[in-house]
Symmetry: C2
Subunit: 286 residues, 2 copies
């Protein structure tokens, strides 16, 4: 029997990272999820060889890029092989046999609570309470048999911990998606259909250099889909660029020509771009 | 007697926003601080004319840019007139007459707790507990006379609420600074010594256009100090650029030439650049 592939994630079982890990590792015959409490410990686990892969959130459509996570990738010299967008369907769940009127306290991660502020305005009898994780809030309700308390988490957490769904898609906007990256310690083989590159440069990056870099990208018909300046303290203010082109070869040629122009060019990954799903979700009290 | 100038801030009295508001409004003869619980409500208060000014954090040296805040500035059509960098000196404080060994619980904002993780590793008898605000955690200790509980907050909170400092500068790194912006509803008069501009563009911004924009900036000897792609959901993925030049005129001329090239150029502010302080702080148990 084959040993399962170990994948480090941020958060616990039935978290959104767990769902992303299952999607991104569909080629593996069996996987074992290793929960981490922070993004830094996830990188350390992968670097130490305690896991074969890791999955890390990098962008949310409401909050934007998770800038410190790019710094972690850079510092730990990790490699990205794939990405996926996942809808973040915030659901309200509680021990079976209760309805919303019987709930007084709602526990979840602060970001999830914040994303559901209209729901709290509509149900003023509900008091939000902050916790470390969405799925772990659901787990606590099951383990401590907490009546009158609900959790906000993904549907998978309700299934795993045997809770009843009281409401689905209760976030303020239905356009709530998170992009997750699949990470490796060593450089993985590049997919033939790769059409995206994720790079970082060290600053200072003078306007003259940046103009030259962009004119080279233009020459190779490479589009810049994302530019981010990283936090000043750790990285000395690096710049991240996500690039897109029709073929992997265009990206590789453009990168080869840029390399001598800039300080500390690091290719974080050459991969296939994931499309942001268009689907709209409708809030529903069940 | 003159009515005090009302300034909306995020957080309560003795918070870091409060300190930034006092620095940024030093020209006002008297001010009144209006606390807001979210950055959105701060913008709404200013737009509704309930405050004359507002102060908003935009960047931290550890966490990077607060990307959704640029979106709020854009959506509410607000104007920036000044900025300041403030050292974030996380201190441990409790009711007087206790030492660290007598404390069991430490309350603060999740980001402050996270920034002090080495301190918690060194003092494993301390249990962190999350709260909504740093300064309000200090207030709760005073009001509820909580023995055995400490708060992590700025020194000003200890002074305001009569708590004793147990330790100073307990964050993992001393390079913890936050940049704050002074905001107006109407466009303010530009300072003569302005040497910085904050702009945003609507995307899609093709490589060809971006190359043209940068070559114009280069022609006017304008340096790009920051580039950020904003969250996809609300703003349709705008790009923010912070620019620096020797004179205000160089910036104005460059902006005039860029304007016809890009969609929806918005000048968020033309102001004097604040320098990031170099000072190092040393952690100290008092």
């Amino acid at each position: 029997m084959k040993t399962p592939t170990k994948i480090a994630i941020q958060g616990g079982p039935a978290s959104f990272h767990d769902a992303a890990a299952r999607l991104l590792s569909s080629k593996e015959s069996a996987i074992e999820i290793l929960p981490c409490t922070t993004f830094r410990s996830l990188c350390q686990m992968l670097c130490a060889g305690e896991s074969a892969l890791a999955v890390m959130a990098i962008e949310n459509t409401l909050a934007g890029s998770l800038l410190p996570n790019y710094t972690l990738l850079q510092e730990h010299n990790l490699h990205i092989s794939a990405e996926v967008w996942l809808p973040i369907d915030q659901c309200l769940m509680a021990l079976p046999g209760q309805d919303v009127a019987e709930i007084h306290t709602v526990v979840s991660h602060p970001v999830a609570l914040m994303q559901c502020s209209s729901f709290f305005n509509q149900h003023p009898h509900l008091t939000p309470r902050e916790a470390h994780d969405t799925a772990d809030s659901a787990k606590a309700i099951r383990e401590q048999q907490l009546s009158g308390t609900a959790a906000i988490a993904g549907k998978a957490a309700a299934e795993l911990y045997g809770l009843a769904l009281l409401a689905e898609n209760i976030a303020d906007t239905s356009q709530n998606f998170t992009r997750f990256l699949l990470l490796h310690r060593e450089q993985p083989e590049q997919t033939l259909t790769a059409n995206k590159a994720i790079l970082c440069f060290q600053k200072p990056l003078h306007t003259a250099t940046l103009t030259l870099v962009l004119s080279l990208l233009q020459k190779h018909e490479v589009e810049v889909s994302l530019l981010q300046t990283l936090p000043a303290a750790d990285s000395g203010n690096s710049l991240v660029a996500e690039l897109e082109a029709a073929t992997k070869e265009q990206l590789q040629e453009a990168i080869a020509q840029i390399r001598p122009l800039v300080e500390g060019l690091q290719v974080l990954g050459i991969l296939q771009k994931a499309e942001l799903p268009e689907q709209k979700q409708t809030a529903a009290i069940l």
